[in-house]
């Protein structure tokens, strides 16, 4: 009977495509929005993950994220270095600033000052130039997404002079990093340079980056640092998580995406539900005839289930495929989507939503079929 059920449905092109559209639309919208959501909030962690060498971040107790940090006195560095179990520690300065391009455009940037001696905190992957370039006078290194934002396409920014807070800065290299949540342009420079670029008071050091000695976990050493110095010390994963949590708690993003996902589900249920019940209504006499001829209610259930399953599977496949194409083509072409990936949970979650949709609409459709009395076919 299954092939009859399938043919009943697929032969009715209009409704079959309507059903596929409904499911595919929902699956696409939901998985695409969830993927963007996850990738967007994970950008709260990129500043941390862009520096793989440091597994401990030390900061003022009130600091919350790489971009929401209260500077500390420079003595903090030596305090951290003297804690037993710290293999090495180096300073980092992170601060907002404005640059003026040669064309006169004004742009907000994040200046990141890294240890003069070791350059710890400078990303490893260079698109153009090298680490040594940072030792040239007034040198800054720009992130690739920032470069794309600041300069026209195809333009080579190496050697370009910028006015950084009224001081001269020269771009000497481009690093490849995932952009932060705000996609602000990042300019890396030596710590001593950064002090000059970013005017300020006595306290300038945003973070101390540190690593645990062999045999100790980052968590153990972080606890020791806090006990010994009174400063806040977070492992890399904890601090990355802090950045993500900060976005979740302080923006309307979860609510907005939640609403879109809910709408995707509701619209899907509406389209699929209406089309499915239209299909059933068109075929109710035929179902009645089948019941009279001798098809049991169980077989009728299997027929409707087969129809729902087909619509669910194909519609889901189309939706997920379109979402994957959207995300991967976006990730490769637009800096806004740079580094976007699809976490494995999202297709799974979308499948669960599609299953719920199919169960609801299939059950509604089935109810009217089961209610049909076989005697009605003689009416």
């Amino acid at each position: 009977m299954t092939w009859i059920a399938i043919r009943m449905l697929t032969g009715d092109r209009q409704k079959f495509f309507g059903l596929l559209f409904g499911v595919a639309f929902s699956a696409l919208l939901i998985s695409q929005q969830l993927t963007i959501f996850v990738n967007l909030i994970e950008r709260g962690a990129t500043a941390v993950y862009n520096i793989p060498t440091a597994n401990i971040w030390v900061m003022d107790p009130v600091s919350r994220t790489p971009d929401v940090a209260l500077p500390m006195p420079s003595t903090a560095l030596d305090k951290v270095r003297s804690v037993n179990g710290v293999e090495w520690a180096s300073p980092m300065l992170r601060s907002g600033a404005t640059v003026r391009t040669p064309e006169g455009d004004l742009e907000g940037v994040t200046v990141v000052g890294v240890d003069d001696a070791t350059l710890i905190g400078l990303p490893k992957k260079f698109v153009n130039g090298s680490r040594e370039a940072l030792y040239e006078p007034d040198a800054v290194i720009i992130d690739s997404v920032g470069a794309a934002k600041l300069f026209p396409e195809g333009f080579d920014p190496i050697g370009v002079r910028l006015e950084l807070n009224d001081r001269r800065a020269v771009i000497r290299g481009i690093v490849d990093v995932d952009p932060s949540f705000t996609s602000q342009v990042i300019l890396y420079t030596r710590y001593s340079n950064a002090l000059a670029f970013v005017p300020g008071t006595r306290n300038r050091m945003s973070f101390v980056l540190a690593n645990a000695s062999e045999g100790l976990t980052a968590k153990q050493v972080a606890t020791r640092i806090t006990e010994a110095t009174g400063l806040k010390a977070r492992t890399r994963d904890e601090f990355a998580r802090d950045g993500v949590d900060f976005i979740i708690e302080n923006t309307g993003i979860p609510v907005n995406f939640g609403i879109t996902v809910a709408l995707g589900f509701i619209v899907g249920v509406a389209i699929v539900g209406l089309t499915f019940s239209l299909f059933i209504r068109d075929n109710i006499k035929q179902f009645g005839a089948l019941k009279a001829i001798g098809v049991t209610n169980n077989k009728i259930r299997m027929m409707v289930a087969a129809q729902a399953l087909l619509v669910g599977l194909v519609g889901y496949g189309i939706g997920i495929l379109l979402a994957a194409i959207f995300i991967s083509s976006g990730a490769s072409s637009s800096p806004d989507f740079k580094g976007f990936y699809t976490p494995w949970e999202i297709p799974l979650l979308t499948a669960a939503v599609v299953i719920a949709m199919i169960l609801i609409t299939g059950w509604l459709a089935l109810r009217s079929v089961l209610k049909t009395e076989p005697a009605e076919v003689f009416r």
């Binding site: 009859i4 009279a292 001829i293 001798g294």
Partner: protein, 235 residues
């Protein structure tokens, strides 16, 4: 004349429908017997209860009271599922509106009872095709119902009712939509292909142009059988 014997026994059938708060009695305790090898007509004015009666005989409408025995089986003592299975293996239906599945070909439509009984698709459709051949529309076997004329669709419906060789065939108003000539041709066809010594054929009609083709006529009036004979009563 073929040999005949009792195939269906109808005992004290009462049927009531609820209309709002009260019950309307449509059948008033009907007793009858129907023999196999005969073409039996159930005739009467519109509203006299023919469709209700044939639905009860065919096992698709529970009577309020009374019993129906089909080939020795008291069908309303069966469980719901057993009654469905009984219909599947013993009864062929020809519905007035045909109720063919619009997206299946004629041969596939004709094969439905076999498929429902679990036969493999290819074999079932092949048998459906053979049945269409017997009804002289083999050349239409691969067409969809909407590509067929009304008369051809009816033949497909007849093929579907006979393909699994049921022992009882029921048919409600097969000629209602047809002109006199086509109506007679359908009745001739049913006599020819449906009637068999071991088979009972009951046809509901109020088409008085074709009464002469019946072996037996049961006349209904207001929910009662008022005449039972080979010919229509004289008025």
């Amino acid at each position: 004349m073929t040999e005949t014997r009792t195939a269906i026994t109808i005992n004290g059938i009462v049927k009531e429908f609820s209309a709002g708060s009260q019950m309307i009695r449509v059948l008033h305790g009907i007793d009858a017997e129907v023999r196999s090898g005969e073409l039996t007509y159930l005739v009467g004015e519109s509203g006299s209860g023919k469709t209700t009666m044939i639905s009860i005989i065919a096992g698709i409408l529970y009577p309020t009271d009374g019993s129906v025995s089909v080939f020795g089986q008291d069908i309303y003592s069966l469980s719901d599922n057993d009654l469905v299975r009984f219909r599947l293996s013993n009864i062929g239906f020809i519905f007035q509106q045909y109720n063919l599945i619009p997206t299946l070909t004629a041969a596939e439509n004709a094969s439905v009872p076999l498929v429902a009984a679990g036969m493999k698709r290819d074999e079932a459709v092949e048998r459906g095709r053979d049945m269409l051949d017997k009804l002289n529309i083999a050349d239409q076997a691969d067409k969809l119902p909407r590509q067929l004329s009304g008369g051809q669709q009816q033949r497909v419906a007849i093929a579907r009712a006979l393909v699994h060789e049921p022992r009882l065939v029921v048919c409600d108003e097969p000629t209602a939509a047809l002109d006199a000539k086509s109506g007679r041709r359908v009745m001739d066809l049913l006599r020819e292909v449906a009637l068999a010594p071991e088979r009972t054929v009951i046809i509901v009609t109020h088409d008085n142009r074709i009464f002469d083709l019946a072996d037996r006529i049961l006349v209904m009036e207001d929910g009662r059988i008022t005449h039972d004979g080979k010919e229509m009563p004289e008025h």
